[in-house]
Symmetry: C2
Subunit: 183 residues, 2 copies
Amino acid sequence: MRSDAAFNRQRVLIAGARLLSEQGVEATLNDVAHAAGVGVATVYRNFPNRDALLDALFQAKLDQLIELADHAAGIGDAPAAFDTYLYSVMEAHATDRGVVPVLMRANQSARFAEELAAQLGPRVQPLIVSAQAAGSLRDGFTIQDLCLLSAMVGSVADLTRDTQPALWERYAQMLIDGTRPPA
Amino acid sequence: MRSDAAFNRQRVLIAGARLLSEQGVEATLNDVAHAAGVGVATVYRNFPNRDALLDALFQAKLDQLIELADHAAGIGDAPAAFDTYLYSVMEAHATDRGVVPVLMRANQSARFAEELAAQLGPRVQPLIVSAQAAGSLRDGFTIQDLCLLSAMVGSVADLTRDTQPALWERYAQMLIDGTRPPA
DNA sequence: CACGAAGCGGATGTGGAACTCCGCTTCCGG
DNA sequence: CCGGAAGCGGAGTTCCACATCCGCTTCGTG
């Protein structure tokens, strides 16, 4: 691969990630190409179609969540570690319009679901188990719950972004409260 | 207005409501026209554009929520009345893909926000106040909370409809638990 | 019943976004 | 330093949904 081509591919990925965060999946490939400072054809040369680009960005988002999990795993206190992780994922959903649609493709594509489970599961499951053992998390709580609770926060953030950009935090807190074991 | 024209208008509204429930705002006017058994032009003769049709359907959805509120108001027990209302609104969001986008236009249009507040507020506020007085609902809970909690359930239902159509109930229950006063 | 206005349906126009084609430019091994 | 392969940009094509136009049909009044 020629060096300039590799450089352009990076530019497309970076611009794509930025536009995805800001505008969600609505962003057009024309916009991405323009933002990256390349022509549309260059985008299509690297990614056969729109979905292929999204696939590539999916892995980047996944890496981001993995990093959050690894950071939380470094916290000694089990309840705090879990809470920190859950909150940071919620924050990612709320502030990055690309996370929800990209990750939620897992519901539609077995390949995505597997990759998600394989890469994220081993890191997150211990957080859940430890928090349950410490009594700060209700039994029966699953990774899927974590994904969907975060998606819920994301949807609130989407609806209120224009008028009350910080409101999602209220609901994030409410949901975190809801993860405690029933009294 | 000619009788056949009035009849066709009704057919469009009914078909529009059905498609909105099933497919959400994605439904095309062509589909609506076909489902109603009329031509596209007939739809446009009654509603100058797509938004005008959605406006008309908005009022229908609103009536539906009002009916739910009136039904709940008939329940003597204040906590049960509020819970019933909240759950039934959540159910409406989860099973009718049209409710979220139609109602959430209130966030963008002052007119909708006013109409919503004017028609729904006086019915729902008493439910909230009574439940709070009875100690089953936390202080600071607002109508907006009710709308957004329901929207959250709707978003979960959207994401899981294909694979686990009843999963939204789990989160509905979780959120209702979250409306109790903190221990 | 007859006639004109009101209403009708679908062919057509318009616009925006995904995707392709092609003539020009840039890279890089010999 | 040069030839050609690899890469490039953007004009053009296709597709789909919204919206309009127009010749034909139906209603309902006199």
